[in-house]
Amino acid sequence: MADKIVTEGLNAYFGDVRAVKNVDLRIPERAITAVIGPSGCGKSTLIRCMNRMHEVVRGARVEGRVLLDGKDIYSATTDAVEVRTRVGMVFQKPNPFPTMSVYDNVVAGLRLNGERDWNKLDATAERSLKLAALWDEVKGQLDASGVSLSGGQQQRLCIARALAVEPEVLLLDEPCSALDPIATAKIEDLLFDLKDRYTIVIVTHNMQQAARISNFTAFMYLGELIEFDATKKIFENPERELTEKYITGRFG
């Protein structure tokens, strides 16, 4: 299996604070990679470095390399905007655009790229909503406001919005932390279905979730990558004592 994203000596800072320390990680293509670890361990910061969202925060900076298909996304010739169209992101709290309808939310990214053809927009909206397992629930209310949906539906709407621009990688930053168990199960099913087509990286504080849906797991602690391996290996027979302690709930 080829590596889609490779980080080399990655350091991420907020001002003087180093949140990610010397991380070397290889994210395999068309699989789900979970990033786990206690709160504040830098797991969200790590994935935000993968689509150059980290630098959006004032005072934040990145050192090291992040290779997307072998090309450094932090090189001087790379455009952050282009990186973000290839590497989509779903955030912790659902953030649909409140002034836009369900439909307009889904096609927002396409419109940014200048797409004006209604047939194409309609087709993309339907396809993306189906991929996000939301179509059957909202097909009758595409004109309703994006924020009129339930929390779980809003999060799937955000997934549909991210998928509509046809990214190669989907980064999810604790996408279920604000959702109830039923909505969480729906999103997990959907990610499971998507992994044949997309490279998925999901940050989660829920170890059961990582064990259930991911193929690979990275364990982070205090900004460092402690261990990365197949999920089965991490959960059944980890190499490092620290990983085992965390998995078995002895800290964190």
């Binding site: 709290k93 953030n95 655009f97 990214g109 991210a162």
Partner: protein, 337 residues
């Protein structure tokens, strides 16, 4: 006066004004001593006095305008003649002047203000944002007569020599730029008004934009939006009601502004669509004529005042309803109303 009245309404909301005094209970228990009771009734009387004063003002205006109201009735609003020799008075040229100059102020001032607000909220580094915001708000505290002086001695020459000839050359074929550039006309008045509403519109818009959650900007950025697209798609749409309210607030200031307009508009009681012609607004008419007016003319001037009062009140109440939650940011207007 009106400014005081609205100030008062705000104090009531905060619970420090009359509403609280009337409730017969204070946050630290009952008033025991005679001294405290006296204190309470003294401040209550002051608070009630401002209310009485506003009503007294309104009643006096209605009373003084009585002759004019009786003479011209509803025709006053559409009458386009103001002739003290024939004792014929109509408000239309001045309503027209006020609306036209205010519309210009909005048309020119709003894009500039929104630009300022976008820079302050979205693009400026923090070390620059605070001092710059402060300076923008400080512009609202400059007395309007200073703006008027500046307009006459600094802006007018530029208008006469450069800006007005340019517009006359390019748009001279439209009815809006007929006549000779003189610099004391509706164009100059509209531009000075535009400058004067910038502090209000910019700082309220900035507050509205800064209230947009970061997650909205991140949503746009993560879809591959540029900074410009993020601002347009996530910030301006989210903050649109606040920005709209800021514009109405600016409109309120433009409608009521007196001194700077009186000094620049040329003071001619005529209705002309050409911006290069002098004109007159409701407030500038009053400022120019109250000294010599008596009898029916004075009564008509006061009726003009009532019309201005009602328009300004409606606009301001409307604006405050929309931007209520950003009101902390509204700078005290020097010459508004």
């Amino acid at each position: 006066m009106v400014a005081e009245a609205s100030e008062h309404g705000r104090l009531d909301h905060a619970g420090t004004g009359m509403a609280k005094a009337r409730k017969h209970s204070s946050p630290i228990g009952p008033l025991a001593s005679t001294g405290d009771m006296l204190f309470k009734y003294a401040v209550m009387a002051v608070a009630l006095f401002t209310l009485v004063l506003v009503w007294f003002l309104v009643l006096m205006m209605l009373f003084e305008a009585g002759d004019s109201i009786a003479e011209f009735g509803g025709g006053f609003l559409i009458g386009d003649v103001w002739d003290p020799n024939r004792e014929v008075y109509g408000a239309l040229p001045f309503v027209f002047g006020t609306l036209l100059t205010s519309a210009m102020a909005i048309l020119i001032g709003v894009p500039l203000s929104v630009g300022v607000a976008i820079y302050l909220s979205e693009l400026s580094p923090p070390w620059l944002r605070e001092p710059l915001s402060f300076l923008v708000e400080l512009l609202a505290a400059v007395p309007s007569v200073i703006y008027g002086l500046w307009a006459m001695y600094a802006l007018r020459p530029v208008m006469v020599d450069t800006i007005e000839p340019f517009f006359k050359t390019v748009l001279g074929w439209t009815p809006f730029f007929e006549g000779e550039p003189i610099g004391l006309d509706k164009f100059t008045a509209g531009i000075i008004l535009a400058i004067m509403i910038i502090p209000t519109v910019a700082s309220v818009s900035k507050e509205a934009m800064m209230a947009v959650p970061l997650s909205q900007r991140e949503a746009a950025l993560s879809l591959g939006a540029t900074r410009y697209e993020t601002t347009r798609m996530a910030v301006l749409t989210y903050a649109r009601s606040g920005i709209f309210g800021a514009c109405i607030l600016g409109l309120g200031r433009a409608i009521g502004e007196t001194m700077a307009v009186t000094m620049t508009i040329g003071n001619a009681n005529l209705i002309s669509w050409s911006l290069l012609d002098p004109g007159q607004t409701m407030s500038s008419l009053i400022a120019n004529n109250w000294g010599e007016a008596d009898g029916l003319q004075l009564s008509a001037l006061i009726e003009i005042g009532i019309v201005l009062f009602v328009i300004a009140l409606v606009v301001n109440v409307f604006a405050r309803l929309i931007v209520g939650r950003f009101m902390k940011a509204v700078p005290t207007t020097g010459g508004g109303l």
